[in-house]
Symmetry: C2
Subunit: 351 residues, 2 copies
């Protein structure tokens, strides 16, 4: 490393102080933005245009208050998701089998063709859904896409959710699986990925692994992570009512996370990982969209990783709201987003 | 390269078709977004909070119609900018000397300390300002920051602007300097950088260099490039009246660019480089902010570069409007943004 590189890193280190929590200067006026009409972007595929044009999620302001209410709502939604899975598994030539690892429910997701150079690789998947949604098989959608498009074997963690368990139950289950995987796989051959609450869990797992002195995996892919559940992050405001998935910082996802947190401090890095120390993290690839309510909380994690000296790539997709890059495996935008993650894993795993 | 890498690249190639111009499906409804109030973000430095809290640029809807009117406005603004430069040069220990290269006006920007490993490196800077603003010394601000923070020698091109010359006068002048630099420097030791119209010019230079069969530089840093002047790009809508610098796709910058274009087809890749073929481009680092009116047109260039197989990094800064990462050399966010570009140049130059 030459002096110039050191200088660059020194700048990042100097700059890193500014990501600490700061108080609002009450004398600074908010910006008043008039009502507006957003046309559907012309520079995305027709399939993505249809997704972007969809109205706001109908139940975005269903604010259930208990784990039991959330589970009932999650089961109803999951039934619909599960209906779509057989066709996707067939399209992508993927088999999914339920199993358990040290008592934790998982799905073993296996493509018909595992690439020769992937035979010693293993991916751990933690699904999203605000720590409340996508129980059981409904949580395997992203794992199926990754297995089918990337020709990797994937273990998808069906972690406990309320009312079965509250914080840190989801994280505990994911760690049980990760620790088990470390016993049979070289950590350098393992990647961990997930989106939304799954993206947050990926980051929380790395923080916990550091606490426990466990080895880091070869790479991680936290997609549009719920990295800050304290309502901090500028796009909670700029993209409010613009993102047709999460819609608002006061919507269903915030409400669900509060139930999972169960009174625990929301600023704990194991719930809001943007506040964690990311030194020593593995190479990371982050994905988000320009209309994503979590755009800010994705780029803030990217900055934190870079400030900690981590090789971290950021991909931002035009016009997309929260996690829409993983909505339909047939769209070119989905192929592109998964293609970037697969290329990143191939670059970093095994080294 | 293993099969999996090839698969990843194949996905990107498959996905690349979707960036072609598409028609709007008239049956898709726009999203109606209510008026809103955006608090100043708490997760940036106090200096950046003040910049973000500033009201909309006072002259954002000055829509001058001729090169002469634009030059008068540019001269008034430039006088104010020039007042700030001596103190910044002193802070950053940088000397600026006017010169010419084959008749093109340039400023030679030299730090008191050039790092030993930078003594054979040379940066070419093309300033921004909608192809109309920052004539003369006023265009050297970003070059001073780069020279002082990165300890590089920089040649800043004071390209002709209306009414002195119209499209492609700015590009012609930048190319004259680039071609001259190639005669005395190893292209691998040269980087080209600029922001806004300067970012677009960086991309236009690469397209023109390909046409002319010239060698590519070792790296480029197009900051929040005006990559599409046809009003296409979703953040022209989502960040309208949110970005306090450019404010609107129908504001001063659009008007200025129309005068520069002088009737030329705005979709020509030498005016809207997002429509150009980016295969063979050098490694690139792009910078933008979550409130940037050109957020979409930065990420669209990033996608195009990635689809063309180019090593391209994207940095997105929390809460910032257009080009605010280069507003004040004393802010941690400025140090961070320049630090990323410097580290990127150090990684890629000379190889």
């Amino acid at each position: 490393m030459n002096i110039a590189n050191l200088l660059g890193i020194a700048f990042l280190a100097l700059a890193s102080g500014h990501n600490l929590a700061r108080v609002q200067d009450a004398s600074l006026p908010p910006r008043q933005v008039p009502a507006k009409s957003l046309p559907v972007p012309t520079d995305v595929s027709p399939g993505m245009q249809a997704i972007i044009a969809a109205p706001l999620r109908a139940d975005w302001d269903d604010l259930w208050k208990t784990g039991e209410e959330w589970r009932a709502a999650a089961n109803t939604a999951a039934a619909k998701t599960i209906e779509t899975l057989p066709a996707m598994r067939e399209r992508l030539h993927v088999t999914v089998k339920p199993s358990t690892i040290h008592g934790v429910r998982v799905y073993i997701v296996t493509p018909d063709l595992i690439s020769p150079e992937h035979r010693d690789k293993l991916l751990v998947h933690v699904h999203g859904g605000c720590y409340e949604l996508f129980p059981g098989e409904a949580g395997t959608s992203e794992a199926i896409m990754m297995a089918g498009l990337g020709h990797f074997k994937v273990i998808s963690v069906d972690y406990r959710m309320p009312p079965e368990a509250y914080f840190p139950g989801a994280l505990d289950d994911a760690m049980t699986v990760y620790e088990s995987v470390l016993k049979t796989s070289n950590p350098k051959n393992v990647a961990v990925f997930g989106t939304s609450a799954g993206g947050a869990l990926v980051l929380e797992m790395m923080l916990r692994a550091k606490q426990l002195g466990l080895k880091m995996p070869g790479a991680i892919a936290p997609g549009t992570p719920m990295s800050d559940v304290t309502k901090t992050g500028d796009s909670f405001y700029t993209n409010e009512m613009v993102d047709n998935v999460l819609v608002s910082r006061d919507g269903f996802c915030d409400s669900a996370t509060l139930v999972y947190a169960h009174g625990h401090d929301l600023k704990d890095p194991l719930l809001s990982p943007v506040y964690g120390d990311m030194h020593g993290f593995p190479p990371a690839i982050l994905s988000t969209g320009t209309r994503d309510l979590l755009l800010s909380n994705t780029v803030r994690v990217h900055r934190k990783l870079r400030e900690a000296g981590i090789e971290a790539e950021l991909e931002v997709y035009e016009g997309q709201s929260h996690a829409q890059y993983g909505r339909d495996d047939r769209l070119p935008e989905t192929r592109e987003a998964f293609g970037e993650i697969i290329a990143f894993f191939d670059k970093h795993l095994g080294h």
